[in-house]
């Protein structure tokens, strides 16, 4: 009797601990974002968005960083999207299960675990020096593309795997070729999942700082880049630069820029989650 009572109390107690732990995580999230909001929100206005960097915190803006981020977003998508999706299709539809595909699989999962700064070293040496791209947008975007490729590949494969085999068989039964089946049946059916992965990957690229620092993105770029071969800066690097300066005015700027960066990443993640849910509802195989 007594022991059962104690066990029940322990049970309740852990439920309480778990709830606290869960709320703790969420509370910290709210608190931190609240702090940044409090510190930086009043700094965001049209001038802040349109001004070039400056040595005076109240005059400095994020125009060049924002332009760089848009460029990086655009270029990284162009490079990584077709490559990632076609690798996913290849691994899922064209290869038989053997040692080679096992190795490819280990390889992709290993790449996903390589720290982002190592990709920076790769980009610095291969794109920056060997291909002579220096610290250009192109070098940065290529580096980030390699970084997010594993994410796109893994989600593409999962989305394709979720398409039931009956669909494939029906398509073959009607006389469609392998490519027609992939292009007209499997890809449309798995598009929701694939897009979710692509958006998550790109949002990861937008928030990355370390690999771009290593490739040589500059903190101070006086003009917005006008071609992929120009030097550049991006929002996270601008934030890093402002954080490392002692004057208070710059940390206010950093908070304001963080609000913008968080808005971008949260919107992208929100869209991804929305797409995933809608897609799951629509295709309940």
């Amino acid at each position: 009797m007594n022991r059962r009572y104690i066990n029940r109390i322990k049970d309740k107690a852990f439920g309480f601990v778990g709830l606290i732990a869960t709320l703790f995580g969420l509370l910290i999230l709210t608190f931190l974002i609240g702090q940044v909001f409090y510190e930086g929100f009043h700094r965001i206005d049209l001038d802040f968005l349109k001004s070039l960097p400056s040595r005076k915190p109240e005059k400095a803006g994020i125009y060049t960083a924002l332009a760089g981020t848009v460029w990086i977003l655009f270029l990284t998508t162009i490079f990584s999207l077709p490559l990632g999706i076609s690798t996913g299709i290849y691994l899922e539809e064209y290869t038989k299960k053997n040692r080679l595909t096992d190795l490819l699989e280990i390889n992709v999962s290993n790449l996903a675990g390589v720290p982002s700064i190592i990709y920076g070293l790769l980009g610095l040496e291969v794109f920056g020096r060997m291909l002579n791209l220096g610290n250009s947008l192109l070098a940065g975007a290529l580096t980030l593309s390699l970084l997010v490729l594993p994410i796109i590949i893994v989600t593409t494969r999962e989305a394709i795997r979720a398409v039931p085999n009956s669909l494939r068989m029906a398509s073959y039964g009607l006389g469609a070729s392998k490519w027609q089946t992939i292009w007209e049946q499997i890809l449309p059916a798995s598009m929701g999942g694939i897009l979710t992965g692509v958006i998550l990957a790109i949002s990861r690229a937008v928030g990355e700082t370390a690999p771009l620092l290593v490739v040589g993105a500059l903190a101070y770029v006086p003009f917005a880049p006008s071609s992929p071969l120009d030097e550049f800066t991006v929002l996270p690097i601008q934030i890093f630069n402002w954080i490392s300066r002692p004057q208070h005015g710059f940390s206010v700027n950093a908070a304001a820029a963080i609000l913008l960066l968080l808005t971008i990443t949260f919107i992208m993640n929100g869209v991804a989650v929305y797409l995933r849910n809608r897609w799951q509802k629509k295709h309940n195989w």
Partner: protein
């Protein structure tokens, strides 16, 4: 075209290994590998150059240990709570919110550590330095909570329902079921989540570059500035180091060390997952 894109991933791996090896190789032509592994000072940017990687490794492991001691208890409690206790509606709301923690760019966490957590710690520990391992480690721990909670929860939920219900059936409470039945049954998945979080913490860059300082030292004291492998690479990248110089090569030797650590951890995780998968088919 499809074959080519499959080859890209292999090329990337070879590229990484080749770049790290070739630059490290020419580094080790000038610095003996014994000095690299055993010297207790790392001062390649000073006049009196010493090349002992130990202080950078100790800094990396120190921040990682702090991060894990924050993230392990919290992450696992959350995972067990969400899978064994929480009503389904709550779980569906909370899980994506927690995953938001993982989607926040790391430079933002660096800001949190330096501007919010360190000043707060100063009110409790007045002699803490402006840059320290403790604040960076704590914030890194918060960042990796969702890695552990999300993946462990998935592991717990993939244990067949019948096992949980059998445990209830013989009169066990939810707590007993969780710790004596579910956690052991899902242990491989939970271990994988912890190893991957460990590997993630070792390779984390911006938080430590911003908040932990740039002073490589061999210490376990979390209150003084230290430097991690990743922070050192950032420090050199920010400066104007000419290509081909010994300083330039140090970042590849440091990167190689980091890569070896994470490579081993990731492969252990992969092996555990492969070996213990499909236990309950």
């Amino acid at each position: 075209m499809l074959k080519f894109s499959g080859a890209i991933t292999v090329l990337t791996t070879f590229g990484i290994i080749w770049v790290l090896f070739s630059e490290s190789f020419s580094f080790f032509k000038e610095v003996s590998i014994v000095e690299f592994l055993t010297d207790n000072q790392w001062t390649p940017l000073f006049a009196n150059k010493r090349f002992g990687i130990m202080p950078l490794i100790s800094g990396t492991l120190l921040t990682t240990a702090i991060a894990l001691s924050v993230a392990l208890p919290l992450g696992l409690s959350i995972a067990i709570y969400l899978s064994e206790y929480a009503p389904k509606r709550l779980r569906l709301i909370v899980k994506p919110l927690l995953e938001m923690l993982a989607s926040i760019p790391t430079v933002v966490y660096g800001f949190f550590a330096l501007m919010i957590v360190t000043p707060f710690l100063k009110t409790i520990l007045p002699n803490i330095s402006g840059f320290n391992a403790l604040s960076a480690g704590i914030v890194m721990g918060i960042m990796i909570i969702p890695f552990i909670s999300s993946m462990s929860e998935d592991a717990l939920r993939s244990v067949p329902k019948s096992i949980r219900e059998a445990s209830y059936g013989i009169g066990a409470t939810r707590l007993q079921t969780a710790f004596r039945v579910m956690v052991p049954a899902a242990s491989s998945g939970i271990i994988v989540s912890v190893i991957l979080a460990f590997s993630r913490a070792i390779g984390e860059t911006m938080i430590v570059a911003i908040a932990a300082g740039q002073q490589p030292r061999l210490t376990l004291n979390p209150l003084v500035p230290i430097e991690t492998i990743t922070a050192y690479i950032v420090q050199v990248s920010l400066g104007d180091v000419p290509h081909g110089s010994l300083e330039y090569k140090t970042i590849f030797a440091a990167g190689m060390t980091l890569f070896v650590f994470t490579f081993i951890l990731n492969n252990i995780a992969f092996w555990v997952r492969k070996k213990f998968r499909e236990e309950y088919e």
